[in-house]
Amino acid sequence: MNCPEFERILPEVLEGGHTAERQAHLNSCSTCSNLLADLSDISVQAKTLADSAEPSPIVWNAIEAQLRSEGLIRRSAPAPATPPWFRRWQNLWFVPVAAALAIVVGIKFYHPAGAGENIQTARHIVVTPGATVRPVSSEDQQFLDAVATRHPARQARYLADKHNADAFIDDAKEVVKDNPGDVYAQQMLINAYEQKQMLYDLAVDRSSGQ
């Protein structure tokens, strides 16, 4: 088993799905074992918030510190102790979304280049607290509700797919914005939305497959 293969089954491992092969890879690869340890910590801390109406700033700070220590985020401006955006998100769904987002970011960007994987992401990723939290539409909420009933490993995959679909939409929007008359850029944006639509269809319409 190599690093990309381990990353693919990481959601299962996080749920305790250890096998001899996976353990052997963890024993031989400090990068993956550190990644697993970090994500496990995040997951454990997120679960402690399940009964609270508002996530503790400690957890957000821990996630933020972890991402910053990996060089994945940078602070664009000094943040207030209790930022305004924070007060808007007092629903319970924020907790799994924030934790899943951190896990997704961790899975996607933690792995260093040169570890045997063909890294696709060439863009410079700047994640600032608040900037990654997009408005939640009724369709988003329906999707999140449907996903919340799934097996945790499946949840993680759905949320990762949503993250990728949203990233495609954002990038395609930028291209359209830079080239307003470009019909091919517009088609790419349509394709990006089609991906998200498919994701929602499969997650919501097929709720029988738990």
């Binding site: 291209v175 394709n191 738990q210």
Partner: protein, 284 residues
């Protein structure tokens, strides 16, 4: 006498062992009489679905249920056959598994869904729609219909699919098209790689789009194509010496190109946001 006793005991042990091993699995065979070009739908949350061409006017469904936590719901009316694996309380991705082997008339329209099982469709001439989350999806030796594929992270493989309208949407699953042609072939991928190997047929439209996934198209020197390629943040290259053509967008070296090869009867569009695009010449 002693020998007989031992033989019978051994036989009993073997029989009981067989019963124990087979106790969890239930086999069901369903037969449906249908008319011309029936519509067959199989919805199976967990487990593989293999669909092949059988005899006209009959649909045969062979299913192996892995436990009593799942049952088959079936319905048929006139030319429509629906089979659903109905998960009962307590079913999971192990106990809810059903393995399907389905034979349909060659011209049947088929819709199949599986969350994680392999989907395999072979030698059909009707419309085919497949959906899966992590399922590997294979469509082989099909012709003349429509092929719709929706998958999140399962690999997709279409091989020897001729004169077909193809529409594939994938998030992370790699898409491999080998010997695929038709009036319209579209692949829309997020991070999965798109690979095409073929001659792009005659008078078809081929649209391949990705977000971060690479796009690789391998064509012979005799291919007749008008090809446009662009990657906003990735690299684009072509092994062919294409006759340049005007593009409606600004062409940046290494980021985009537009040109024709031979009579340019088919249109090929390769677009990615940050994936690498490579139009390769097939080495004969």
């Amino acid at each position: 006498m002693t020998g007989v006793s031992w033989a019978s005991k051994t036989g009993m042990v073997l029989a009981l062992t067989g019963l124990a091993f087979g106790a969890g699995e239930i086999r069901k065979d369903l037969h449906f009489k249908v008319g011309k070009r029936p519509m067959v739908s199989i919805n199976n949350p967990y487990g593989p679905i293999v669909v092949k061409a059988g005899v006209p006017h009959e649909v045969v469904v062979s299913a192996i249920l892995h436990s009593d936590k799942v049952e088959l719901d079936q319905s048929s009316s006139r030319n429509r056959v629906d089979v659903i694996s109905h998960l009962l309380p307590g079913a999971d991705q192990n106990t809810g598994v059903v393995e399907y082997e389905v034979q349909v008339p060659p011209e049947a329209d088929v819709t199949v869904h599986s969350e994680n099982g392999r989907i395999h469709v072979e030698k059909l001439g009707g419309d085919i729609a497949t959906e899966g989350s992590d399922s590997s999806i294979e469509v082989l030796d099909c012709s003349n219909g429509h092929v719709h594929v929706k998958t999140l992270n399962g690999p997709v493989n279409l091989s020897n699919v001729r004169n077909v309208h193809v529409d594939i949407i994938s998030m992370g699953g790699n898409v491999l098209l080998s010997g695929v042609d038709g009036p319209f072939v579209s692949v829309n991928s997020n991070s999965g790689k798109i690979q095409y190997a073929g001659d792009f047929g005659d008078e078809g439209e081929y649209d391949f789009t990705s977000h971060t996934g690479d796009i690789e198209a391998v064509a012979p020197a005799y291919a007749s194509i008008d090809v446009m390629a662009r990657s906003d943040q990735g690299h684009v290259e072509s092994d062919f010496s294409l006759a340049p053509k005007h593009t409606p967008f600004y062409v940046r070296g290494g980021k985009s190109f537009h040109g024709t090869l031979n009579k340019a009867t088919s249109s090929v569009k390769l677009f990615s946001f940050s994936g690498r695009i490579h139009l390769k010449k097939r080495q004969n």
